[in-house]
Amino acid sequence: MKLVGNQLQIKGIVAAIDRDNIDTDQIIPTEYLKSIKKFGFEDYLFDGWRYLDDGKLGVAKEERKINKDFILNKAPYDKAKVLLTRDNFGCGSSREHAVWALRDFGIQVVIASSFGDIFYNNCFKNGVLPIKLEKEQVESLFLKIKDKPSDFSVSLDSKKLKLTDGTEYDFQVEDNLIERIIYGLDDIDMTLMHKDKIKAFEVNRIKDKPWIYAND
């Protein structure tokens, strides 16, 4: 398969948020779900922590009161490509806007000891790679990047996370999922290649379970 503009290597500044259970309401608050677009969410990422005032969809970053203490507002972390956090990142609401906000901000990789199931799935539809590591490994990463800006480099094909000091971590992710990020594959096109099987299944189901189709 040919690469379609996507990369095998992601390298960039890592920003750390030291909290468990960061829910998708924190990643992007409800207010911004009023958008009917799929892009343009970068200014609303972690809105409740990034700003000191209450935002509205369409209000520009420049008009907001910035929380200067929040990591993503500080250089060089404002250009972060990797996010390091703790347990159960992305729990709660199914809003895909959470992944759109991370992607639009420039975050391409999220490292955590576990993820909310729906968020984890949504990531792969949008070219964001969630990396699950053991709690102890996450702890050691937090210690390594403490107090000094660091670059992480992620190799998608060999599934390795590399630090500038040479340390390497292997991570697990299903091949089909990571290929979706590498090749930017479209799920609907792929599924429609099985159109005949779906049709045949449906024909049988209409016979077997007619009550499901009572209103058709």
């Binding site: 909290r19 468990d20 259970n21 829910d23 309401d25 924190q26 608050p29 409800t30 207010e31 779900l33 009023k34 958008s35 009917i36 677009k37 799929k38 409740g48 209450d54 969809l57 369409g58 347990d87 159960n88 729990c91 709660g92 609401s93 199914s94 809003r95 895909e96 992944v99 576990s114 993820f115 909310g116 199931d117 729906i118 799935n121 949504n122 539809k125 949008n126 299903e174 091949d175 089909n176 290929e179 799920d187 609907i188 792929m190 599924t191 429609l192 099985h194 099987k197 779906i198 299944f201 449906e202 189901r205 379970k209 007619p210 009550w211 499901i212 189709y213 009572a214 209103n215 058709d216």
Partner: protein, 466 residues
Amino acid sequence: MPETLYDKLWNEHHITTLDSGESLLYIDRQYLHEVTSPQAFEGLTKKDLLPWRLNANIATPDHNVPTERGNSFEMDNIVDEISKIQVVELDKNCNRFGIKQFDITSDNQGIVHVIGPELGYTLPGMTIVCGDSHTSTHGAFACLAMGIGTSEVEHVLATQTLKVSKLKNMHVKFEGKPKENVTSKDIVLYLIGQIGTAGGNGHAIEFSGSYIESISMEARMTICNMAIEAGAKVGLIACDDTTINYAKKHSDLSSDLLTVAEKHWNSLVSDEDAFFDKEILIDVSKIKSQVTWGTSPEMVVDFDGEIPDPSLVPEDKRKNIELAKQYMGIEKNQKLSDLKFDKVFIGSCTNSRIEDLREAAEIVDGKHISKNITEAIVVPGSGAVKKQAENEGLDKIFEEAGFIWRDPGCSMCLGMNPDQLKPYERCASTSNRNFEGRQGNLGRTHLMSPLMAALTAINGTVSNPS
């Protein structure tokens, strides 16, 4: 080999295994609302595709709708222009593609997870999806129901399938008889307190036991609704007479179809000796009314219990507790009964059905809300719930007690419409999430049952329900 209910539903809907190792599952029903569908419809249009099976889809606007609509309200009357665009967009998309919608003027409009079962669109044994994590609610009908993202909404519209990997099986058995005034909301909050919000990650949770067998479909929906708050996107309960009687009452299937269906529905139970990856047994007779104190549903205690002292917990948990207490404005070692509440919200897909409203009305009947409560609202889950409550005179009971009686919608569960908390306001809420800012920027949410929320409205603070 003995199978769990989840295994059976999985196998029944399994079309094929893909080269990737994932499976294509056939989806019987998709619910759509205005927030997570516009981008999916846009994608469909861009690809020049039509919905695979139109009538699998049922739509209603619920998240953005104002709840003070009164009679003859139309989309155009929505004051928030951005909210209006979303509601209008859903209407346009439903008209363009020919999807059945209960629009803002319909008597049957309501929260999607309330109207689905109520109108007979949720039937036992279905696979059900919606761009909303509380789709787990429909698992109460022995359905494989789960929340999905917008890309998947588009995928289901276009292909009537979902590309998924199989989850593991978890079994939570609730045995015993609960104490008086302890409801299904208390039971599920207690479970989340025990296993944590990541406890069910990667699993489908089946709830069973003598307690589950004894409760109504509405109480079962409350439990499955909150499975996602325990980390499980799928919650399930086996089909029994309670399920079948509900389905018969709410659907308009012919008696011929019902006869065939019923035979199948009776098989929707886990086999004896089916294997579960995790098993949990909970004695419900020991559970007291539960109230959350923090910013995650797992931060929950007995109504008269101690809020954790960060200095007494392991170091890795300390920071979360400190941050939560700080956000919630809780001083060291305060008790819930020391906290003064400002607002009360009775509603949401968790607790806005008729039994919830009856439970709350019984508490407030003949009493009045406390002086420190600036606003107490009751938001029925659907037009049908509202009408039923009004027929029973519940609206009058609430109004005489000082509550405001509203029109159906998601309302203050997430404050996407004008129903929001102001900064630092403390709210007793029957909803499902006490996340930071969930009900309004800097708002403070305490989750509890409708009974406890009603009692908090009357007393102004958390108090003993007996």
